[in-house]
Amino acid sequence: MARKSLGNIRRSFAPWADPAAIPQVRFESVTKRFGDITAVSDLTLSLYPGEFHALLGPSGCGKTTLMRMLAGFETPDSGRILLDGQDLAGIPPHLRPTNMMFQSYALFPHMSVFDNIAFGLRQQGLAREAVAARVAEMLTLVKLEGFAGRRPDQLSGGQKQRVALARALARRPKVLLLDEPLGALDKKLREETQYELMDLQAELGLTFLMVTHDQDEAMAMADRISVMERGRIAQVGAPEEIYEMPANRYVAEFVGDINIFEGMVISVEGEIIRIDSAAGLLVLDDPAPGLATGEKASLALRPEKIDILTAEPEGPGNKAAGEIWDIGYLGDFTMVQVKLDGEAGQLVKVALPNRSRKTETPIAWDDRVWLSWDVEAGILLRG
Amino acid sequence: MNRLRAPHLLALVFGIAFLYLPILVLVLYSFNASRLVTVWGGFSTRWYAALLQNQALLDAAWLSLKVALVSASLATILGLLSALALGRFGRFAGRTLFAGMIAAPLVMPEVITGLALLLLFVGLDAERGFWTVTIAHVTLTACFATIVIQARLVMLDRSLEEAAQDLGATPLRVFFAITLPMIAPAILAGWLLAFTLSLDDLVLASFTSGPGSTTLPMRIYSSVRLGVTPEINAASTLLIALVATVVVLASLLIKRDALART
């Protein structure tokens, strides 16, 4: 049976799916320890030319260390890092064809914007005119014409971010490294900059490697995301794969909101699986090779995939009864918590999109309601 | 920058050696049995014994100690008040002059401060002795104490004081319950600095003391002008040991205090 596409995107750029594609960067079994702490543990990952890759994870998961090893600021204890087939071991940072945009931007406070951007070019021994031309080109690229004479402390946060970007791009690196590139910006500016960065990446065709702890940022910008957990990669994939097909409970819970119903498999018929849980008998349609009756399994369900009804729904599909426990109006949607009937009384999050400005059947606290969702909406998590 | 590289280690060893070797030589030769400075005549504490017989030196040390104790205490009080005035009172009439007078003694050559104070005391026809030296020392060291205390006061999180006030404490109560305990290490440091500066001062004391009130540095100075003497080595060693002990103890105390607070 031909499965439907995940999410609502059709991607044409997917070199990782092509066995003949040659990766540009390759981490091979890389391990890095700091004292007793293993920051990166036997990690293997390939980045493809032109890819926008995000390393996503909580602080301390090793994502920054992994990136700093590619830049040359940390040395792997074991394993290799290859760039265009060349082993980077022993090459100091200043000789590597990568450039980094630092989380703090690390703009040299005693130099003007011009000198900051020109710094890397001057190290290459570029002629004065060539330096000036390239700096001007970079300033245009980041829309900061006319700011060349300013000092970093005369710039706003967003402008500093652009200078840092221009400075890192000026040397035309093979790979641009971005350490929490939007972390210091406020929400509104973050979204704007996000799309500008994406456009820039598409325009330049460069490989970007970004470190972030913000899943929205990673989802919106990256071609692929590596979700990291304690020095290892929990899952690599396109954003919609990470979101709709999380490999395990860690990924499911880290990326986006999710409801998890724990239970036991009571029957497997092809791809139709039935699970007995505290919320009742649940049905889902998900391929699960080798799954046996009697195994422990959970059904994971995103809040936006659930409907709230005032009457018991008819027909197949899943349903559960409960009462409204909490309502949070968020503008674009309303997050409702429903307390299911029964001893466990599990709280289920439901995201109701606010498609119209007014509704005829508003909900209120303590209303009796029915939840309903498709058999294809749930994700099977084993164990 | 995580590991210490060879050139760094070399710079550290050379720098620290330069700072400590002269003192070490001095201490070493205070235990030399021989009177000759370059000849090692075996270990002996005879110069320490001789020190106890030197009544003039003991008198001078006692006077210096008294001056240092009194002047450091007065200087710390004035320093605390000045730091509060500069750090917590906003603008007041003559603040610029005040700040200037606090900073000036730090860069003023001691010979000038000493000369000026002496001319004042002569003009007032004051009898020169313990009190004139003490006043001179208070004037100099209060400025150092102010700087030390003010630095801590500036670092202090104002919201702590505001929180206390918000919870109903009067300004005076805020000062004694919040501000004072928080800056106590700096007050101690300021007192110590004032104490050691006073104990150490030769120039101001030479100008402002009178006959019969010779301080320890003055006594040491008049003997060493004539050359190196083992007795002075012994006295210096004792002084160094005293100051080093007090400073190390104080820094440990402050550190423990800081640790207890975190």
């Binding site: 630092f102 | 760094h8 720098g15 860069v107 004042l120 005076l172 060493v224 002084l239």
Partner: protein, 306 residues
């Protein structure tokens, strides 16, 4: 209870009644024992030399007669200062010696401060105490320690002779070299501390960024470390240069007859020649000279802050 006490003291955010004392007490002290004495120095610098005790005229007899002093002013002492090349030489040589000492101190202090700032974090407090500790021990004793080392047949001579490096004594004692050594040694902590502070504050990611942009270690040092340590370097130079100019103890104990320094001249004029007006004039002129580095440093600091 809290509201009760609040009402008892003065209202608002001010201090209770003795608030003004906090300012007035130290203010009065400084006016009486700092500002007033300087006015007297200025006054006496402008009066005649006299052999009476106190050795100046007219005699100070009371505040009410201040006007009389003003009428007796003269510039004789300043004329002596300008006319006699001894004083000019002393000022110039003080500046030269202080500048040389500052430069040497900088050359020794910078590597030391850099090594301290680069050392592992947990060592740094101990290193800091090691550098500060000599500053707390007596200045006079530290200068005296060098007398034992530098004097003829002293520790240094004995050591070098023992190593077979010299046959004759070096004869360093009572020379300008000895004065320079004494100054560098005494004021080194003043140079190390501000430089260390500015290096320690230096954001490591700036060095990483420079490396990332292709700068070699030497380039990073010249383009990033030195410019960003500049406030510390200037502060250190200021803290060494200014006290060195007016220094008395070091040239007196370690210097020889030919090492001329203005602090020593002032001392001699006052204690040996008992020419109080001339000593006062020397002091006033020295203050004017000191104002130059002071204003220069202030300008730099203000520019830095802006």
């Amino acid at each position: 209870m809290e509201t009760g006490t609040k009402a008892r003291f003065s209202p608002g955010r001010g201090w209770p009644a003795p608030r003004w004392l906090v300012v007035a007490l130290p203010y009065a002290w400084l006016l009486a024992f700092f500002l007033l004495p300087f006015l007297i120095v200025l006054r006496i610098a402008l009066s005649d030399t006299a052999r009476a005790l106190p050795p100046y005229a007219p005699h100070w007899t009371g505040w009410a007669e201040a006007w009389n002093f003003l009428q007796a002013l003269d510039l004789e002492s300043f004329a002596t200062l300008v006319g006699d090349s001894l004083y000019l030489d002393a000022y110039l040589s003080s500046l030269r010696i202080a500048a040389t000492a500052t430069l040497i101190a900088l050359l020794i202090a910078f590597p030391l401060a850099y090594a301290m700032a680069s050392a592992p974090r947990r060592w740094q407090p101990a290193l800091l105490i090691l550098v500060i500790l000599p500053f707390w021990t007596s200045f006079l004793i530290r200068v005296y320690a060098w007398m034992a080392i530098l004097r003829p047949e002293g520790v240094l001579d004995a050591l070098l002779r023992g190593l077979g490096l010299i046959d004759e004594p070096l004869g360093l004692m009572n020379t300008e070299t000895a004065v320079l050594i004494g100054m560098v040694y005494s004021y080194l902590p003043f140079m190390v501390l501000p430089i260390y502070t500015s290096l320690e504050r230096l954001d490591r990611s700036l060095l990483e960024a420079a490396a990332d942009l292709g700068a070699t270690p030497l380039r990073r040092f010249v383009s990033i470390v030195i410019p960003l340590a500049r406030p510390g370097i200037y502060a250190g130079c200021f803290l060494v240069f200014v006290p060195a100019i007016g220094e008395f103890v070091i040239p007196d104990l370690l210097g020889g007859p030919e090492t001329l320094m203005i602090g020593k001249v002032l001392w001699t004029e006052f204690f040996s020649n008992r020419d109080w007006p001339l000593a006062s004039a020397v002091a006033i002129l020295l203050l004017l000279i000191l104002a130059v580095p002071l204003l220069a440093y202030q300008r730099f600091a203000r520019k830095e802050a802006a």
